[in-house]
């Protein structure tokens, strides 16, 4: 492991422990605890969407659909003891197993959706995933076993802050490792110029599908968390607007920047919670934000750079003028 990775991990653990202690000491009440958990869930969703839209340069609009698959599948497994998973596994372990099954199911669906569309060059993925999200919603509305339009109730609240925080850290760790691996570099090459990448011997379809399926998996996990956080899920919880909320997180943070997605997920979840009373006005503001960011600052807040402890250290050192600016500390990806 690189030294900077270790520093970042320690930093992240410190935040987690600090927040956990604050909760235990009673400084964070139930409502804020709920929001903190939700933030972690959106971090998982945004970081995984960033993998498709930011790193791979493909445009997916179906994240809410994958979340729906993960949410319903995971909820079915935790609500029905003895279904496939042996009954001996109960409580939290069952929750994690159910999450993984939900994620795998979402990944499988992602594979089915991605296979015909990612073969092609062009923007077919956008429209197919958009249609897919709608179809999932319609199917759930008509599925009596999970309550149809009235929703699926009585899901146990397994998703507490600590477990979801750990899941978010693991997700970011895996996706960040994927991005810096040869797979990730292939994806970035595809984003920059698909034809050139293909000429260089990159199997573009393969890498696009791998990235897409991985992202769908984590979207499924995020959905499962959502189900066990809200304790009741309805098909309309996974409407197109949810996909757009996550998309805005990715865009605001900067396409291709994992840390940007994380910060935007935190920021936008807080804004959404505080504007809950003005639903349609909030969506108008969000859509305008999406348009204006794309026109005036398409690189987003971080502009494809990564924020890390070591980078902050450099910035602070720069501020006090002790060292000369060093180029290229944001290593993984320049969007330009």
């Amino acid at each position: 492991m690189k030294k900077s990775t270790i520093i970042n991990l320690i930093f992240v653990l410190a935040i987690g422990i600090a927040l956990h202690l604050l909760r235990k000491a009673g400084f964070i009440n139930g409502y804020y605890d709920h929001i903190l958990t939700k933030i972690c869930m959106f971090i998982i969703a945004a970081v995984s969407l960033n993998l498709i839209n930011g790193i791979c340069g493909q445009f997916s609009l179906g994240h809410a659909g994958f979340m729906a698959v993960g949410a319903y599948i995971a909820a079915i497994f935790t609500k029905n003891p003895g279904l496939i998973i042996p009954e001996a596994i109960a409580g939290m372990p069952r929750f994690f197993v159910a999450l993984i099954i939900g994620g795998l199911m979402a990944a499988f669906v992602g594979f089915l959706v991605g296979l015909p569309t990612l073969r092609l060059r062009g923007d077919y993925l956008a429209i197919t995933t958009l249609g897919f999200g709608e179809i999932i919603r319609v199917l759930l509305l008509n599925w009596k076993f999970v309550g149809g339009a009235s929703g699926y109730f009585g899901i146990k609240p397994y998703a507490n802050f600590l477990s979801v925080y750990v899941l978010a850290v693991i997700t970011v760790f895996i996706i960040q490792n994927f991005i810096t691996s040869s797979y990730g570099r292939a994806c970035i090459a595809i984003r920059e110029d698909e034809m050139a990448a293909e000429t260089m011997g990159i199997h573009t379809t393969k890498y696009k599908i791998i990235a897409f399926v991985l992202a769908a998996f984590f979207a499924g996990i995020a959905g499962g968390i959502y189900a066990h956080l809200m304790q009741a899920i309805m098909p309309r919880d996974f409407s197109f607007l949810v996909s757009v909320d996550i998309l805005l997180m990715v865009v605001l943070g900067g396409l291709g920047s994992t840390s940007g997605s994380i910060m935007a997920a935190i920021f936008l979840t807080l804004v959404t919670e505080s504007l809950r009373r003005f639903q349609s006005l909030r969506v108008i503001i969000y859509s305008l934000m999406l348009i204006f960011i794309m026109i005036f600052r398409p690189q987003g807040l971080l502009g494809g750079q990564e924020l890390s402890v070591s980078m902050l250290k450099e910035k602070i050192k720069l501020l006090f003028g002790r060292i000369k600016p060093e180029k290229g500390y944001a290593s993984t990806n320049g969007t330009e």
């Binding site: 015909p116 077919y124 958009l130 794309m294």
Partner: protein
């Protein structure tokens, strides 16, 4: 009712619905042909067209044809403004940026309509512009007057479009820009004007489609553009995106298939069918039925 009569009846219903899809698909295909952008906000132009028609009829007491023309003019203006403000700055940007802007616009228009006091989130009854009469053209096969109106208007507009694209100077410019933007510019064609004109043309057709849709369904709502918009895109891909006759053929075909599925008692799957078709066509013949197979050059 024999099977043959039923098939004929569903064929008529399918073509009427399909002609609406075709009108929207034309806008998609023309815009895609000229700037390679899926204009996600096109379904919203369709919706706004229906609402403008509604207000023209109820508030300004227009009759059907003037209301139709008013909505078409309004939406072509909207199309031009949309292109100038949102898409033009992004013409050289990565494609994904323009696509996201299009999605943003689509959500913006929908929620703006919800937010506007005199539109709101609840559906509105579209005024009856034509007396519904049923003509029995064969034994047990009926043609209603609203279907005749839909087909008549759609057909007239398609013929007008054909004239504009193939016989006028602007149409020639459109075809030139869609083939090669830089070369067209070198030949003295004003590319910006041509692109704006394409948006205007497509938006006008979408507005007409919106009104025709509203006439046959009888009600309008802020999110009525989403599904027809998506299906029109599928029609455009089915016919071969970028091809004008393809969009018409694709729209008609999709309308017929959809009606056949509902008639077979699977109306729940109606919406899913369009996407099944999309996936199939992408698997088998991504260039569509009438699309040309162009080789990409570096």
């Amino acid at each position: 009712m024999t099977l043959g009569q039923q098939i004929l009846q569903q064929l008529i219903n399918g073509i009427a619905l399909g002609s609406v899809y075709a009108l929207i698909a034309l806008g998609y295909t023309m815009v895609y042909g000229i700037i390679r952008l899926i204009n996600f906000a096109h379904g919203e132009v369709f919706m706004i067209g229906a609402f403008v028609g509604y207000f023209a009829i109820t508030l300004f007491k227009f009759s059907f044809i003037p209301a139709l023309i008013f909505a078409m003019l309004f939406c072509s203006l909207l199309g031009i403004i949309m292109e100038r403000l949102a898409y033009k700055p992004l013409r050289e940007a990565p494609r994904i940026a323009a696509l996201m802007t299009a999605v943003g616009l689509s959500i913006f228009f929908q929620n703006l309509m919800v937010y506007l006091k005199w539109v709101g989130a609840s559906p509105k009854a579209f005024p009856r512009v034509i007396e519904i009469t049923r003509y029995e053209i064969m034994e047990n096969v009926y043609l209603t007057s609203d279907k005749i109106l839909t087909l008549g208007v759609a057909l007239a507009l398609m013929l007008a479009l054909q004239y504009v694209v193939h016989k006028t100077k602007m149409g020639r410019a459109m075809r030139a820009v869609s083939q090669d933007k830089d070369a067209a510019q070198l030949m003295g064609i004003n590319v910006d004007t041509t692109i704006s004109f394409t948006f205007a043309l497509g938006s006008a057709l979408a507005a007409a489609g919106g009104i025709l849709y509203a006439v046959s369904y009888g009600k309008i709502i802020y999110n009525m553009g989403t599904m027809p918009g998506l299906k029109a895109f599928v029609s455009a891909v089915l016919g071969g995106i970028g091809s004008i006759p393809g969009a018409v053929a694709g729209g008609m075909l999709l309308g017929i298939v959809e009606n056949a599925v509902s008639a077979a008692g699977m109306s729940m799957l109606r919406d899913a069918v369009a996407f099944a078709i999309l996936i199939l066509i992408l698997l088998i013949k991504p260039t569509g039925l009438l699309g040309k197979n162009t080789r990409e050059k570096v």
